[in-house]
Symmetry: C2
Subunit: 204 residues, 2 copies
Amino acid sequence: MSGLAEDAEQHVLALRTMPRRRWSTRDKILLEASRLFSTHGFRGASTRQIAERVGIQQPSLFKHFPSKSSMLAELAVYDMDVPAHHAEIAAAATGSALDRFAGYIAWDFEWYRTMPFDLRCVTEQVVRSERLVEARAAVNRWNAAIGLILRQGVTSGEFSESATSFVPAVLETLSWHMVNKKDASAQTVDDAVSFLLAATLEPR
Amino acid sequence: MSGLAEDAEQHVLALRTMPRRRWSTRDKILLEASRLFSTHGFRGASTRQIAERVGIQQPSLFKHFPSKSSMLAELAVYDMDVPAHHAEIAAAATGSALDRFAGYIAWDFEWYRTMPFDLRCVTEQVVRSERLVEARAAVNRWNAAIGLILRQGVTSGEFSESATSFVPAVLETLSWHMVNKKDASAQTVDDAVSFLLAATLEPR
DNA sequence: CCTACCGATCGGTAGG
DNA sequence: CCTACCGATCGGTAGG
């Protein structure tokens, strides 16, 4: 079922090159919902606030989404299914663990840097709200793929064993940092890759 | 006004050596509130849930706290005022930036590892809810002190300039990691210090 | 610390 | 996509 992830990735690539006023109402809803979820949390962001920012009445939201949580579920596809798909490819590829890990995190940081939606905190809210079963499965797939690459790197002597337990959480933080900073550039991505690799590599 | 931070630190040290059944109702409320805030977010945790876990009726909460947000404000003292106080001491001390930074983060990780309350996500919720003016001031003080140490280390050639922009967010993540993991030990603290220093130091 | 209760706001529906 | 509206739940108060 990688079709879901690939379709979602293509849709985001299309949104990035499209002026925001030409976005569909549905995507405008997702954008404002993501921003309010990030700022006030899922429960703290009301459907009336989302509708106001989009410029429609609150009940009109439910012509595009069956529920508020379905908005979060769709954002979780961009936040977890797409990264999980890329992480699984990196985990199954040939080459050194270091090269595959470096390649994945470079893609990951660039994904978040150019992401139109504000996905910060989506992961945590997804993991914690037990309703979103599919999104939780994607989180587990991502963790499994990253964990595999890290173990491969420890076995080959490239990665520090004691460091690997911190890597998933720090990777996530650096991803959100790309979203957080308006002035994040391609250089910022390179710096974040160097930062994480320096912490992960076995000291020589 | 470091008396607030020092009193709060002493209170936490006392709680750590006291069996939980001997805690005051007030501290039991703070414990369960912190856990529910961390799991469901501030808005997602209801006062009825908090009261149920403490074993009292919901309106009784307001005999101990004037409002739900005042519970968050008190947790923010443990999450921000106490660390800000220690960071400011480290920033003003003599010695190399590396030594002072390493000393601070070792204290920080140990603070969160042995913290009875679950302070994850308190910072974000504090920063975002504009009402908690005092807590926001503590966040700013912490950021200023850490930023000063980092700039000192860059000037002296000990720290990598491009790395320092990621350090505050990653430091916070590693602190929460100490709370998150039930099996976090003194060794985990040492590993986290090594992890962050490896990423922060100028490569030789 | 309890019972009883209130106004406000919430997510979502009906019907057009 | 709008207006009108509903049941549920929210944080907090009154009074004992």
